[in-house]
Amino acid sequence: MGANAQTSVPTFTAGEVLTAANMNISARTGIPVFADATARDAAFGGTGEKTLAEGQFAFLEDSNTTQYYDGAAWQAVASTSGLVCVKAQTAVSAAASATADSIFTSSYTNYLLLVNFTTSADQLCIRLRAGGVSTATGYNTQQLIVDDTTITGARVTSQVNIRIQQSVGAESSSVIHIFNPQLAIPTRLTMHTSLNNSNYTTGLNLNMRASNQSASTAFDGIELLALTGTWTGNYAIYGYSKTV
């Protein structure tokens, strides 16, 4: 057990005489605030000071960070989130198209796009965008569709978009990973769609697609658009953290 480990969390009673030990319990708990790391280090271990030991917390004003002592060194409490939302969930209602610009930056290499959708009549499609303009050439897709016991594969090249799926009468969901869209190299996408076409039982299909936009173009956004009519649903985009 470390020097500062507690074996109880006491409650004092009215009229009780508090000893120095009792008072130290209060004085040594909580997160002490220091101007900086130098002040922090000077505050432990001296005469009349608390012994620095594993489990000690500290807050540093100069960096606005909370740290803990692991027995050998001070460590940051906050950890980097693995996924960072770069486009808040956006509702789309009976629109032919939805655009999201200025999303892909050098802050992230890979992105996650989640889409829930129904279509009024036809396919929901996706195009990549640069500077507010959708690119309508150079899309290639290999797809695998599983419909009950029937498995179908197909590949299409040099298309004007990537088709996600048609979802009329029931809502479907797509998980789309987008790799390196912000770099001037071919952009790759992988897509899994839980497709409910017309209903949630016999309309259930699994649709997987490997796609790319083969030009050496840096993209900063996407467009989700209905092939015919409109689509309704929502989408959100996340960046995958590049650091731990």
Binding site: T90, A94, A95, T99, D101, A154, V156
Partner: protein
């Protein structure tokens, strides 16, 4: 009827230029979609024809060939 776009979270009608680009895209995209569907259907028909010549059902063929 005006085409509606959700522009970075804001609903509005497409501009004339946007609508023209969207409609031009639709024509090509629909043709590509139909071509893909036709190709898949043609493959399915070829498979069914081959199975018929062998006298097998699709389930029997799957049991034999995986």
């Amino acid at each position: 009827m005006a085409l509606k776009i959700n522009d970075n979270g804001t609903d509005r009608e497409m501009t004339a230029d946007e609508a023209a680009e969207y409609k031009a895209w639709q024509i090509v995209a629909k043709a590509e979609t139909q071509a893909e569907a036709d190709a898949i259907e043609a493959k399915a028909e070829a498979k069914a024809s081959a199975l018929a010549k062998l006298g097998l059902t699709a389930d029997e063929a799957a049991a034999l060939f995986g």
